[in-house]
Amino acid sequence: MSRLAPGHRGCPGCCDAMAANFVLEAAGDDIIVVSPTGCLEVMTTPYPESAWEVPWIHSLFENAASVAAGIESALKALGRKGNTKIIALAGDGATMDIGTLGLSGAFERGHDITYVCIDNEAYMNTGVQRSGGTPYGASTTTSPTGKESFGNRTQKKNMPAIMAAHGAPYVTTTSISYPKDMMRKVKKAVDIEGPCYIHAHAPCSTGWRFESSRTVEIGKLAVETALWPLYEIEYSEITGVKKIKNRKPVEDYLKAQGRFKHLFTKEGGEKEIAKIQDIADWNVKHYELE
């Protein structure tokens, strides 16, 4: 199975590279990959080089799903679709903000594509600006903490719910910290006919400010605190949930990252942490995680 070739320009410990490797390992070699603009695209393919060893295309920031849908339609029209899997690998900004329209259209039309959102919770490639994937309280360059501010004021958009509302055959969350879970879900998605959506949580040491060696640990803490629930949805019904034993308080996750540091050093931070705990508690109830 192919992985990304070494020599790419991802930061040491890059989450996007890990996500791409797991997708490549699970999906096999008969694939065509589409990446919109973002870290994965920029760091794997600084012209005239590329770390990809499968057919791969980059067009624009906003149109990964449309390009994937176009490839699928063209192959079908030419009678050459065969067993080839078309996979989009896109960032959270590309997916949850600028590319949502094209993504929704592709799922509405029912193309046989697998769309993977690699969610590192901000626009990393342009310097950590907030996106619809940035969680409440995180400090980014466009939601900075300061005298008055406690960081990002909005909640993380529930993108899997939006995708599930399309009635897609398969929508799932996963995390790069659970490679086996992620690879099983990728394999399942590419084998299902129709549009499938995988939302992979991806801790970015550069943007979230933690030691690169702890990338996997941080992603596990998100799951163990119930801030990132792992579940599967088939035709809008929840069909699988990863249960949490001995749930950890959200502080364990937050205090490990520089982007949440102000919650522990600024007066009034406890109130903000309590709000974040409420989000985790809601997840536990809503997805029946315990």
Binding site: A5, G7, R9, P12, Y47, E49, S212, S213
Partner: protein
Amino acid sequence: MKIAIGGMVEPGSTRVNKTGSWRIYRPLYHRDKCIKCGICSMLCPDSSVKAQEDGYVIFDYEYCKGCGICAYECPKDAIEMVLEEK
């Protein structure tokens, strides 16, 4: 620079870029402690730990960036990060 039609490039051509020069810490392998679980080779973002046929792993110092994930996640502490000497 002349740009090829469609901006086509050769697969895997980032290999010309030897990212091992980025490294500050180097993974040092203690083979005697290794249980061949394959976690390190699965996780490495730079495809720089490879499992051999006998299950033991080798590190590719030409590309390893020294992120430390393999050492942190190894269940047997068979990988130690040591300061790179240049």
